[in-house]
Amino acid sequence: MRHPRLATPLLAFAAALAFAPAAMAQTKDALVVDLPGDVATMDPHLQWDTDSYSVYRNLFDNLVTRDTAGRIVPQIATAWRYTDDTTIVFDLRSDILFHDGSKLTPEDVAFSVRRIINPAFKSPQLSQFDQITSADVTGPAQITLHTKTPYPALMAQLVKLSIVPKAYVERVGDQAFNQQVIGSGPYKLKSWQRGVQSNLEANDAHWHGKPAFHTVTFRAVPDIPTRIADLRTGRADITRGLTPDDADALKSEKSLQILPVPTERIAYMFVNALAGPTKDKRVRQAIAMAVDRDTIISALQQGYAKPANIVLTPANFGYIADIPGWPHDPARARALLKEAGAEGATIQFLTSPAYDRRLNEAVQQMLGEVGLKVEIVMLDQPTYLRRRQGTPEEAGALSQGRWSCACQDADGVIFPLFRTGSIWSKFNNPEFDAAVDAARTVLDETKRLAHYRRAFEILRDEVPGIGLFQDYAIYLARKELKWTPTANEAFFITDMKWQP
């Protein structure tokens, strides 16, 4: 008699044990993300580093956004139209609520624009929005923006403009807002332990629907091997910032998946066209032919990179696919150097610990093989920047960089890098200047592309810089996480799903 009585609860317990893992795997409420760093500011109008961005963009809605294919699509704005070359009118949704229950109005949108372009606010993002001169509410669900000149990159910049609640920000002040932000996005900030972690909770009332994960924790885990260990033990579900070497070593891991994506970041080499031996165009062309991109990509990037013929990626507007790159031709490079009388010349390669040392050394060896002595000058970052941005004479002959304007437009790349007068430019070509100037002040896309074609033809011939490769962002996730990362490294939790 005693046995059956005991057997029933035992059986039930065994059954519960057997079914529990299966039942738990079907739904996953809490997502844990390991980021290399913590959020610098929750206020979306201040910092815009990748870690801050990954967190706070889930808390806010933006005026417009990009779909997974990279096209600019509506978010708060439902439609937009130019009424003249410097005036653009946005129709806005009127069904959006902030997390405190208040309604998102055109006043909030105008306030957000005015806040970020106010020089007294000292936003590090100011240079991306300072073409906007004013934001006016022009209807119950409408705002109008004015720009200084026709500004074709405006929409690309507005993808990054998060809308903050005017009344709340004005009431609590900037510093308190940064500590306890309120947005209208699919997640709300539950708590933020500065430097440690941020806890987000789903905003079930979001106009776009209920998010798949009820809570999301973003943890700051600086060391890559530790982040990988967290993923292996299931302590975290996804992380970013893997190196190609890490990704290569983790390929066979059964419970994990590597999610690589080509970004809008271009790896390039700067070549000084205004001073030293590289002032001679033939020397610059010889350098372009001595550098072996394919070897760099296979040996240093483990294949996690796409070769680039120009200093721009296909993820940017203005990319011209059919401009040929310089072929890898050491013999011709040697001949050109001889012709220019630069055989055996010594040139300086300025760098800092922020850049991949292996790439410096690979280039040093490649140029050494064609007869150029490369002296690698290792500087601390402020000194490196001061010299690289200073006069042509102190900028060195070469340096490497990975450039991203976070705007996916050629204007944010080749204008600051090569336009005469820009601090980075050590190149002076009136025809190039005219082309990039024209491309930034005409709205017609076909005309803009024609200007960029001309600009890239000049860059190809003059070589003030060499495109190396399109850089990848590499994520590591648990196998069950379904997500397609995008070129702009947006980290929208609503795009993720859990599917065992």
Binding site: A40, T41, D49, R194, A220, V221, P222, R227, A229, R235
Partner: protein
Amino acid sequence: MKRHIAGRIGQALVASFGVLTIVFFVMRLSGDPTLLLVPEGASAEQIAALRHALGFDRPLLVQYGAYLLDLARFDLGESLVQRAPVAGIVAERIPYTVALAGGALVVALGIGIPAGIAMAVWRGSLLERALAGFVLAGQSLPTFWSGILMILYFGVYLGWLPTSGADSLASLVMPSIALGALTMSTFARMTRIAVLDELSRDYVPAARARGLSLGSAVWRHVLRNAAIPVVTIAALEVGNLLAGAVIVETVFAWPGIGQLAIQSIAARDFLIVQSVVLFVSIVYIGMNLLADLAYALIDPRIRLAR
């Protein structure tokens, strides 16, 4: 005694002033921090405007004066990146580092001192050789390597301890061992030498002759005398623990000031880096002062000599 204490405190104050002066000028030696704070595409005008807004265009001595005035008011400024008071940001992290340093000290004292005594008392035995190997390992394994090894073995393979973070007491175990290993070795070696030194003195055979066992002689007389150099080392080691925390906290994602230093360097958050360096230096000076004072308290010869 009073004169001795006052003298030591005076020296510590002079050293602190020297440190904050050095920190200020070294941080500015490498150039203009404004360049680190602007986005890549910023124009020369935008950089100049920010430089002016932050006051970095003022003469260096004027900036130094302002810095001293702020420090006198315990104002460490506002973080240029996080836009929050630096003092608060640093203060939030201190408890974590104190907990970690405490854990490491427990590991270091709890293992190091008994090991050192055992090595001295049973000199030449198999036990001494085994312990010497253990001490050597603690001394020579770099923490960035032993830390990852522990994470892989105890965290990933055995699943006993959390691989990262600071959310339970279990999280503290591996970082404490990683950080405490080197200090443990130092304690073991110092204790061994000090105990051996005392054991060779005449009072030990005298005590034994009075009928005390070796254990009682060590416990009652030797350890008390051997403690003097060990106490000094203990205070100095706290400073070393703070320095070691930079690596250990990064490896284990332990959110103390060491990790804050690394994060702030990466984020180019100039004022936080400056404040962390200042904090660690002041703690180091403070611990030195404590060691000096404790030394005088334990050993009357030192205070009587003055």
